[in-house]
Symmetry: C2
Subunit: 206 residues, 2 copies
């Protein structure tokens, strides 16, 4: 089986935020599809080791900020490349709230979708959440950001950086796991989330 | 709720084929996401009134041909805009078979993914199929076709045709339901699949 074939599926890029009691977090995900009408329902999949996933299981409510072409690496890095277990990602952000009181991104997004989970399917590494759409609005006329465009256009070119700085490890973009050392085996699988070598990015020496 | 916000989710375009006993069919769908690893699993959603959906419930096996940028309106029209209840879409096609004996498209596709359904979730209008990937291969270096590109670039421009020919009805692109008459109400919902006016395309007089 050639795993690269799976990379030919197309995805958007979203900031998913949720709030359970006084705990709040947001993460970057690329899996969201509409799966039914009357009522409108969507499905998203989150990795079980992800802090937002744990909070969502508790809260059952989330807001999806659909990133658009204006999104920068800083935005994706802030929400996607650090864990809410260590950092309060909302600190000093002063974001607007959706009707459920969940903050969302009002800039660099083309739509905001508020959802209530109606079913959870445990898939081992991930949980699939099926959710009813409670509210949705368009926030810009720009095109949605595609995951493929993020890879091509927004993600810093690790080849350029490689020549300038020394690599001290590799970080899993999906769950944040760090592989210590400059040489990561080609067939390495993340011990936390099972993603392949392609999902790791270099960590440079300061 | 502004339904247009849901159009900001990004999708690819796929031909999904399945075979149950001597019955065979294929349809166009735009919903497929990878939802888990180890084993690799995907999720797709099909409308319950769709003939392929009925066959898939019976067979539990499907093959996904991931359409690429070379795909034409003829391909999408053949697989997506007629029902396998009335036409044998595979007649005279002589397509290659995947390891499960299910035919797939070898041209205008960038990947082929063979799957076995492991769970079905009934969502009223639709069924969500969660499936394990049994086999996958890359079939071209072209980019996958995006549903947004299909709408912009491949779908015939109904505005141009409108000025030349008289509209006699409106056809639901999702399930094929025909609304008789030139003027379809703006808030019309398809009585078969529940999709909105935006999913209807004009049917012209000959």
């Amino acid at each position: 089986m050639d795993n690269k074939a799976l990379f030919r599926l197309s995805y958007g890029v979203f900031m998913l935020s949720t709030k359970a009691g006084d705990k709040i977090n947001g993460c970057i995900t690329d899996t969201c599809i509409q799966v039914a009408n009357t009522p409108t329902r969507v499905a998203i999949s989150l990795i079980n080791t992800n802090y937002t996933c744990s909070l969502l299981k508790e809260s059952g409510l989330f807001c999806l900020s659909v990133l658009d072409e204006a999104a920068t690496f800083d935005i994706i890095s802030h929400w996607g490349l650090q864990s809410g277990r260590n950092v309060d990602k909302f600190d000093g952000m002063n974001l607007p709230m959706d009707p459920n009181g969940i903050p969302y991104l009002s800039s660099s997004t083309c739509a905001v979708i508020s959802c209530k989970v109606v079913e959870q399917v445990d898939l081992g590494t991930h949980t699939l959440f099926i959710a009813e759409v409670l509210d949705a609005k368009v926030t810009s006329d720009r095109n949605p950001l595609l995951y493929a465009d993020y890879q091509k256009r927004i993600k810093p070119d690790s080849q350029t950086q490689k020549t300038q700085r020394k690599i001290k490890g590799w970080k899993c973009r999906i769950c944040g796991y760090i592989y210590e050392g400059p040489d990561i085996p080609k067939d390495f699988l993340c011990p936390l989330c099972g993603h392949t070598r392609e999902d790791f990015e270099p960590v440079y020496e300061d």
